[in-house]
């Protein structure tokens, strides 16, 4: 009778006892996508803490006017390392970590297409991260000038040229990011090959989970958007070491070329970073609303649209450069265009929740936070896409508030939702819901308390990247409230870390399928065995586990796809 034969008697990973050195070896030498995924996420969390502490120091410095907690040079290094780390050493490995762990499980595969390339990607990323941080020790070089990079995360030339950035700070920035970018490209090619070539029988592209779809388009963006940055960094190093003139304005080179190349990478990059959150929401919201995703094909189409339109919007970061008005018009229009598919996504997630049987467990709470905050981020984004408006607020705290709303209010909230949702699968233990709610409310309140005031500061004219300011400009109150919010955020993060450790050690054991899920990762044991599935599943619809659990009312009866 049953047409789909899952390993209902799930394989149990036997209790294994290993010595410390044995288990260390197992982790270091592994090519298993699940271990590599966890290693990516763990190192991302480590860099997240480091860069988060940097952010806290910066907020403390700006808490009151004329503060001298840190000097201007230290402050420059702090915001450079904070931005670079959060983008390249937190966001990118989170993309790789989540897609590595989940894509093979969701498409019913036993591993990624290229397991060894996968391991290479992780280690080269980690090398890049360490190289960047080594600048604190080696940035001075033989002449002992300079330390960590202090050129901002987009490192505009000619500030990075050898005449203006002495020592090795900019070299560590360029090489560290170049090397970790190599890892990202390796991992992206791997995800693409895995989704195209490793799907289990019946898993057609139309039936593939939306998570996998989003990660596939995300990998496409990595493959086409990372090389411009690599090219620019190679050119920068040629300038610095061989005396080439790419960005040397004294000899005819162009500083604007760097900006174009950086943002040809940089704007798709923000979509690369936000996509994992899109992917996670598309899985979590349906499960906690007990409804299939509303407008599934429209969601996939919207992601594909973003995957192409976002390649043509980069110069909206450069309205203040003085481009021709045709360029300004084009990039303003294309930037607004990309808001349409993003809007479709927000509507569809909301429509999924509408009329659903909502269960406000921690993952759904974080999704709700995402929906509201990402909406605000999207709206300020549309405002900044209007070139004259951007001329007013360019390089002000308004821009800082805007992209922190996308990357914290959006990406980070999405990642937290994903961690609460899949932690039981990865560890076999449930994360405490009570601690999770503390985490959510503290972090949500703290985040809004910090970043809503930054919008006002921007409109009051406070430029970004200043290390202190004089009293009497109306900035004191908002800066003070902003810094208070950081304390709430930090408390929230402490709850999260405690929850991770506590639940991993003494948490409530999770069943194989604690949320009554519909996708294939819940069809195997928690944690999954090294080979994922004893017998490869065969699927007939986009919700294979629903079909299995409801043999009288399977999805494939209604959807012939």
């Amino acid at each position: 009778m049953a047409t789909i034969d899952y390993p209902l008697q799930r394989p149990q990973a036997g209790p294994a006892e290993f010595s410390f050195s044995e288990s260390l070896y197992k982790w270091v030498a592994t090519v298993d996508h699940k271990r590599l995924g966890l290693m990516y996420i763990t190192s991302a969390l480590f860099f997240f803490l480091v860069a988060g502490i940097m952010a806290t120091v910066m907020r403390l410095q700006l808490m009151v006017p004329n503060n001298h907690l840190v000097g201007p040079d230290t402050f420059n290094r702090l915001f450079t390392m904070h931005g670079t780390s959060m983008v390249f050493l937190v966001g990118m490995p989170m993309v790789a970590g989540f897609s590595n762990y989940l894509v093979p499980l969701m498409i019913g595969a036993r591993d990624m297409a290229f397991p060894r390339l996968n391991a290479f990607g992780f280690w080269i990323f980690l090398l890049g991260g360490l190289l960047l941080y080594y600048s604190y020790l080696g940035g001075g070089g033989l002449s002992g000038v300079g330390s960590a990079p202090d050129v901002g995360w987009f490192a505009y030339a000619p500030l990075t040229e050898s005449g203006f950035s002495r020592g090795h700070a900019s070299d560590y920035w360029a090489l560290g990011v170049l090397v970790s970018g190599l890892g990202s490209v390796a991992s992206a090619i791997n995800v693409i090959a895995t989704t195209f070539s490793m799907r289990c029988p019946g898993m057609t592209l139309r039936r593939m989970p939306v998570f996998v779809w989003v990660m596939l388009i995300d990998s496409w963006l990595i493959v086409v958007a990372l090389p411009p940055l690599s090219a620019a960094q190679i050119m920068l190093e040629l300038d610095r070491y061989l005396g080439a003139n790419f960005f040397n304005t004294q000899n005819g080179g162009s500083a604007v070329l760097w900006q174009h190349y950086f943002w040809i990478f940089g704007h798709p990059e923000v979509y690369i970073l936000i996509f994992p959150a899109f992917a996670i929401l598309s899985e979590v919201i349906p499960i906690f609303s007990r409804k299939p995703l509303f407008g599934r094909s429209a969601m996939v189409a919207a992601v594909i649209a973003i995957g192409f339109i976002s390649l043509g919007v980069w110069a909206h970061h450069m309205f203040a450069v003085g481009m021709t008005s045709w360029s300004n018009t084009f990039f303003a229009a294309s930037s607004m265009l990309v808001g349409i598919p993003t809007g479709i996504k927000i509507f569809n997630w909301t429509a999924t929740m509408y009329g659903g049987k909502l269960r406000f467990a921690t993952p759904l709470l974080f999704c709700c936070g995402f929906l509201l905050q990402f909406l605000v981020a999207g709206l300020t984004g549309i405002m900044l896409a209007v070139a004259p408006f951007d001329w007013q607020l360019h390089d002000s705290y308004f821009v800082v508030a805007h992209f922190h709303f996308t990357l914290i209010g959006g990406l980070l909230f999405g990642l937290f939702a994903g961690m609460y949702y899949w932690f039981p699968k990865a560890s076999g233990k449930l994360l405490s819901d009570k601690l999770g709610k503390w985490h959510f409310w503290l972090f949500c309140i703290g985040f809004n308390m910090t970043f809503i005031p930054l919008h006002f500061l921007g409109m009051l004219g406070m430029p970004r990247r200043i290390y202190t300011y004089a009293p009497g400009r109306g900035w004191e109150l908002w800066n003070f409230i902003g810094t208070l919010g950081v304390l709430f955020q930090a408390a929230g993060i402490l709850f999260f870390l405690y929850n991770l450790l506590y639940s991993a050690l003494r948490g409530q054991p999770a069943t194989d399928d604690p949320w009554d899920g519909w996708t294939l990762e819940w069809a195997t044991s928690s944690p999954p065995p090294e080979y994922n599935f004893e017998k490869l599943p065969v699927v007939r619809s986009s919700r294979p586990l629903w079909d299995l659990k409801h043999p009288q009312d399977p999805d494939w009866k209604w959807d012939s796809a």
Partner: protein, 201 residues
């Protein structure tokens, strides 16, 4: 026949007929895509900086068309196809011959590039730091030459293991992927040649 039975039959047929693209093919295609973007950036920089050099030497004074080297590189795309063809028909001797021809043609191209650079540096005093032409010329042509070196390294590995008696016909897929990479390097040369020696001059 019950509905469920039909469904079961369909599922079985589906499982048997389940075909997906080869993962190596997908991998190499996307590697070529990402490399193409990298090259495009250097090509765009070359085009943007064409005619923007503040001082000489200028391309029209010093560049000579590398006709013979180009012919050699492009024909190596042909010889590698013959080599593949021979390998498919299990003619190892023929394979070795065409394969070593490919390597030699590639090596000649590389030598020609080296000779060109030697002339430009020592005779015309054009280095990477002289002007924008030098900057973009050496980096674009150099990026291409470094890809030729990578290609030649892999081609040589295949040749050496074949000489040592490794049954290379078992690795047909990998040889095929290597040849795609080589075709890609050749195709890039067509672009570089057009941009540097025709448009840029």
């Amino acid at each position: 026949m019950s509905e469920a039975h039909i469904v079961a039959q369909n599922a079985l047929t589906m499982e048997r007929e389940w075909k997906l693209p080869d993962r190596g093919t997908v991998g190499i295609v996307f590697l070529i895509i990402t490399e193409s973007v990298l090259f495009s950036m250097f090509v765009i920089a070359y085009l943007i900086y064409t005619g923007k050099s503040l001082t000489g030497p200028y391309p029209k004074d010093v560049l000579e068309l590398p006709i013979l080297a180009s012919i050699c590189l492009l024909s190596s795309s042909g010889t590698i196809v013959f080599a593949e063809h021979a390998l498919k028909h299990n003619q190892i001797g023929k394979f070795k011959l065409w394969w070593v021809a490919t390597i030699l043609l590639g090596l000649y191209f590389l030598w020609a590039t080296g000779a060109e650079w030697h002339k430009l540096i020592y005779q015309d005093h054009l280095t990477i730091s002289t002007n924008l032409f030098g900057t973009t010329f050496y980096s674009l042509v150099g990026l291409h030459a470094s890809h030729v070196i990578v290609g030649l390294t892999f081609l040589s590995i295949v040749f050496i293991v074949t000489l040592l008696g490794f049954p290379i016909q078992t690795q047909l897929r990998r040889v095929l992927f290597l040849s795609w990479y080589w075709h890609f390097v050749d195709a890039v040369w067509v672009v570089v040649f057009t941009v540097v020696y025709i448009i840029g001059r």
